[in-house]
Every structure is written in C-alpha cells, then in structure tokens.
C-alpha cells in the first residue's frame, strides 16, 4: 500500500534521514528549534541531533548565509532556512557574490554545498513582503541551482538531491504547498536536477506551472477538459538547471505554450522559458505563446485586490482557451467547488 505523507512530513523525513546518514548535515535559521519547528518541517530534529547540528540563529541573514558558506568550505552540508523568501534579499551579497561564484573564482579549488530553504507566502493578507516569488533572481546567476518542488514526492527527493549536491541550491517552497498530500516512499531517493515532469498528457496546448501555480494549472486543465481542450501540463521542478528539452518536445507536438509563474512576468521564469522554446522551434514549428504571473504591482493584502493579483485556475483556463481558439472568446468557466479547495488559513 502506498504511504501518504504531507509536503511538510516529506521535508522533515528527508532532513532526518540525511542527518542520520551524514554527520556533516546541519540545520539552522531563525526558529528552527522553536515549538512551531518551521511549520513542522524541523520537528524533533534538535532533540535527536543536538543543538550544535540544529540551532536557531539571530536574525542576521547576511552573516548567517555567509556562515553557511564558510561551513560548506569546511566540509559541512548546511541547510539554512528562511520562513519567508522575501528575507533572502538581505542575503543576496553572500548568495550571489560568494556562494554562486566561489567554485569558479577560486579555479575549482573549492565548492559550496549548501541548501537555502525558503517559503513563498500567499493569501490571508501576506501582502507586500511575505508573498514574493523571487526565484528568477537566482535563475539569473550562474553557479546557483534553483528548485521549486510542488508535491510531497518531489519535496523529499529534491531536498535529498539538494543536500548531496556540491553546489548551492535555492530550495523554494510555497506555504500553500505545505498542505499537499501524496505518496512518498520511505527509502531515501533523489529527484535529479534538470529534469521536468509531464504531469498530464495532452495534445492541444502545453501548460507549464511554476511552484504553487502548477496546482492552478492542473485545475485549469480540468476546466479546459469540459470544453474539449486537451492540455498537457508540465512541472519543471528544477528551474536551474532548466529542462527545456521536455517543454520543447511538448510544444513541438501542441504548437501552443502557456507558462504560469508564481512571480512577476517581466524578466521572469516565464520569459526565460518562452524564449528558450522559441529559440529552439523557430523556423521549424509555428508556435503561439502566452504567459501569466503576478499582476505588475505590489501584492495587496485585501482579498478584493489580491484575488485579481494572482492567476487562478479559471483565469488560466480562460486565457488558454483563447490561445487555442484564437481571438477573444470571453469564456470563463463556472466555479467548481472541488477545484477551489484551499486548506490554508492564517495567520501564517
């Protein structure tokens, strides 16, 4: 029988198994050892592995990120956790100038195996500085790997891969994805970098969803089914290195591509994916493209505006319908309860 875990439990189990296997794995960040244990993802680890390997830190994002790099240089495999991704902006110097570049600028004499876990927030008024999906900032920089698993299976396999990886990995979680449940093998396994997964096969249009937006894309696919539009839905999983091959192969078949990002579109992951696909297929295949993401504004906390800020299954379905049929069709599916479920309630 399949064993079902939540995304949170999958992360906790991956961390626990790797800490048991390898004494060089350490976990730290503000509140990793507090009673809430980072939504439960670090529960019990401090008791099991001791306060030297699992420890809360001062709120010093730059120094603690720099310390993670120093630990990695000394042979540890640090996992540094941020409760919200927005705080990574305080650590950009260390991530971009040191973690990403050390292997190269020291001519291969060193490598920096470290994992930066960070969470994107959404809804319940998360607002301007608790909601940002900044993964594109990191995709831009050679030397960093970026992963955004969307289900418990990948949450575990990607984290184990990230811990073993000899490069710095930005591991992007989404607060709402924490509630996902799914089959997770107990034995450790890895989900390899640079390999996307086709979640649903289809022939009319390719739909790529990043982080939480993958869920909305899967729901959009079900709305589209009801009007006989057959969407192929792809989860890139790893944003850097990006598996453009799988997406290109899909678009070669469908001729239509819509990328829905959990972030802004300008200079974002959606722009990158569209560009790579068009560069590959131009002259070979006529392709129409569309992208969706956060509205080009700061995230508003009021639900009245926040609902408009994010793409959702229905607005995605509507846009994809236009992409497939051509022109503006003004079709918006009626809301279906089973495609609206949202387990997250505040405050955090």
């Amino acid at each position: 029988m399949e064993r079902v875990l939540s995304y949170v439990e999958a992360i906790r189990e991956a961390t626990d198994q790797q800490m048991a296997e390898d004494a060089s794995v350490v976990v730290f960040g503000l509140d990793v050892d507090d009673p809430k244990a980072i939504q439960g993802t670090t529960r019990g680890l401090s008791e099991k592995y001791g306060p030297e390997r699992v420890f809360g830190t001062p709120l010093s994002e730059e120094a603690m990120t720099g310390a993670a790099i120093g630990m990695a240089l000394a042979g540890l495999r640090p996992i540094h956790i941020h409760i919200r991704m927005d705080f990574l902006l305080l650590a950009m110097n260390q991530l971009v100038n040191v973690a990403a570049k050390s292997r190269y600028m020291y001519g291969g004499q060193v490598h920096v195996p470290m994992v930066v876990r960070c969470m994107i927030g959404k809804s319940w008024g998360q607002g301007a500085q608790h909601s940002q999906g900044l993964h594109a900032y990191f995709m831009h920089v050679p030397g960093l790997k970026v992963v955004a698993p969307t289900n418990p299976y990948d949450a575990k396999g990607c984290l184990i891969q990230a811990i073993h990886d000899n490069d710095p990995v930005i591991y992007v979680e989404h607060r709402i994805l924490h509630f996902q449940k799914g089959a997770v093998p107990e034995q450790p396994y890895r989900v390899a970098p640079g390999k996307a997964r086709v979640m649903v096969e289809g022939s009319d249009v390719t739909l790529v969803g990043i982080s939480y937006m993958l869920l909305e894309c899967l729901r959009a696919g079900r709305y589209l089914k009801s009007v006989n539009v057959d969407a192929e839905v792809i989860d890139p999983i790893w944003l850097s290195p990006l598996d453009s091959e799988t997406i290109v192969n899909s678009v070669r078949k469908t001729g239509r591509l819509c990328v829905v990002d959990n972030g802004w579109t300008t200079c974002g992951a959606s722009a990158e994916i569209l560009t790579q696909v068009i560069e590959r297929l131009q002259g070979e295949r006529q392709v129409v493209v569309h992208r969706m993401g956060y509205a080009p504004a700061t995230c508003p906390p009021t639900p009245a505006l926040e609902d408009l800020y994010y793409p959702n299954a229905r607005t995605i379905a509507s846009a994809v319908y236009d992409l497939v049929k051509g022109g503006r069709n003004h079709w918006l599916p009626d809301e279906r309860k089973e495609l609206q479920e949202m387990e997250f309630r505040g405050p955090f």
Binding site: V26, E52, R53, T57, P58, S60, E62, A63, M64, T65, G66, A67, A68, I69, G70, M71, A72, L73, A74, G75, L76, P78, N93, Q94, N97, V98, S102, R103, Y104, M105, Y106, G107, G108, Q109, V110, H111, P142, G143, K145, D165, N166, D167, P193, P241
Partner: protein
C-alpha cells in the same frame, strides 16, 4: 630562538615588500591585467599574525590579499601566474589579484566586496568547533569593513557561539579615500567590539613584534578552554594608492606629513637592523631568486584554454 623568529619575520616582510615592488615595476607593461591593491607599509600585520599560526589554521581575507596570502604560506609562483592571468595561476586565471586562494595552505579566499568574508570565516570556525578540531580561523579585514552590517552580525554570532576565530582589523584609516573619522561618530573600534562580549587588544604603531606577541597570546587563548573569539586591531598605514602601483598624495585627501611617522617606523628596515648583515644578505638573496623564478614562471606559462570559460561554473 628569538633570533630565528626575527629572521623568519624579516624574510616574510621583506619578501612581501619585494614581491609588491616587483608587481609595481611590471604593472606599466600591462602584463598584469588585474587591479592590484598593494599592502606596502602594512606587511607587519599579516606577518606578525601569521607567524603565530600553524599550517592547519585557516585565513580569510580581503581584496588587499597579497600580504596575508604570502605570510600564511600561499604559493608565490601560482600567485604571480594568477596576476598574469595564466592557466597555472592559483585560480586558473579566474580569480585575479582580489581573489587569491590556496586551500592546501589554508588560504581560503577573499572578496572584493568589503566585509563579505568575515561571515565566511565565522562559518568555518563554527565547523571546526563542531568537528572538534583545534585549528583556528583568522579573519583579516580593514577598517572599511567595520562600516558594514555583516561585521556586526558576525561579531555577535561568533561571540554567542564562542568560536575559535581571531578577528584582525587592519586599520589603515581609509575606506578608499574617506577617513574613519568622516565615517564614524565614535572611532574607537575596540570599545564597540568589546560591547559584543569579545576581548580586544590594540597595537597602535604597526610594530611587527608587538603584533606577533598579541596574536600569539590570542591564538593560545583561542586554542585553550576559554575559547573565542578575539579581536585584534592593528593600526597601520598604506603607502601606495588604494588600487594601483603608484603613490596618491597629489590627490590631497591625505598628506606626506600624515604618512611620515609610519614610513619612519618601516618594519622592513627595522627588522633588517636587528639581523647580522651576512644573514640578512643570505635571506634577501634567496627571496630575490624566488621572485625572479616566480615572475619567469608567470611570464612563460600558457593562458587558459577556451573551454575553461565554462568549467567550474557548477560541479556537473
């Protein structure tokens, strides 16, 4: 024993001085296409501190990287080849003067962005403590780095975890061209660091023997049961321009009068006077030969192949 130590210190300060004078001599030929931040005048700090270290101790530093790199045993030939951009440079021509590295000799690298490596040194020291090793870490930085937030965050965490880490502030008074007194209301760095719960010492005259003595005491404390960290402030003076091979007194931000006492206390001349002439000549001849060999090596080595552009970006 003291005689042998003085001779070691002399060899080290003389070697760094002469290497940098040679860099300054070669620089106008454009064979070195790397911004060089020379330590001429400041050698005593690196030399005095590194004399107190063991080979298994680790140093992190700044873009003014030549002095501590050489003082802690970094390979001179590989350093010169790096400045020339050659494939056999310490970073295969991918680092340059501001990012010298020699992991085999405990030189862990440097950042051009001021203050950055202080936090890396903190993490390294945390790992050493966790791994129950008795090596220590030295973090070299200038007074400019004390302006940065990461300096204060790092002091706090190092103190909290009692890390085996010696902070060495090479206070040459200037962040590029701006004096400490124009950057801080309170210029007493030691007082500020003490407030974090860290013991401090200050050497205010660039005296290499005093610096060594203080470093030795600090290192022995770090290795002992008392633990760390420790903060050592060394006042010193940069004779050359912030970056480049020349002097810069014509710019007017500082004067010859300000520099004079530091030049008069030159530690190269001072140690030279303490050594018997025949020993001194012997040391100097050996250093000169080593420098000639290193420059010839750098001149003749090949540049990196084109494929190196995309290697070492990631591990796979």
């Amino acid at each position: 024993m003291r005689k042998a130590m003085v001779e070691r210190l002399y060899r080290s300060v003389y070697r760094i001085r002469r290497v940098e004078e040679e860099i300054a001599r070669v620089y106008p030929t454009d064979k070195i296409k790397s911004p060089v931040h020379l330590s001429i005048g400041q050698e005593a700090v690196s030399v005095g501190v590194c004399e107190a270290l063991r080979p298994d101790d680790v140093v992190f530093g700044t873009y003014r990287s030549h002095a501590y790199y050489l003082a802690h045993g970094g390979d001179l030939k590989k350093m010169m080849a790096e400045l020339y951009g050659k494939a056999t440079g310490c970073a295969k021509g991918k680092g340059g003067s501001m990012h010298l590295v020699d992991v085999a000799h405990g030189v862990m690298g440097a950042s051009a962005v001021v203050g950055t490596t202080i936090a890396n040194a903190v993490g390294y020291a945390y790992a050493l403590k966790l791994q129950r090793k008795d090596s220590i870490v030295v973090s070299f930085f200038g007074d400019g780095a004390t302006d940065e937030g990461v300096f204060h965050e790092s002091l706090n965490f190092a103190a909290l975890k009692q890390l085996p880490l010696l902070f060495v502030c090479e206070n040459n008074f200037y962040a590029i061209h701006t004096h400490l007194l124009r950057r801080h209301k309170e210029a007493n760095l030691c007082e500020r660091v003490r407030a974090y719960g860290i013991p401090v010492e200050r050497v205010d005259d660039n005296d290499v023997l005093k610096i060594h003595e203080q470093a030795k005491a600090a290192v022995s404390q770090l290795r002992g049961r008392q633990g760390g960290p420790f903060f050592l402030e060394c006042l010193t003076y940069r004779w050359k321009e912030h970056v480049g091979p020349n002097e810069d007194f014509h710019l007017g931000y500082r004067s010859h009068e300000e520099a004079r006492p530091w030049v008069e206390r030159d530690q190269v001349a001072r140690l030279a006077a303490l050594i018997a002439p025949e020993n001194r000549e012997c040391i100097e001849a050996a250093v000169e030969e080593e420098i000639r060999t290193a420059i010839a090596f750098a001149e003749h080595e090949p540049f990196p192949d084109a494929h190196e552009l995309l290697t070492d970006v990631t591990g796979d």
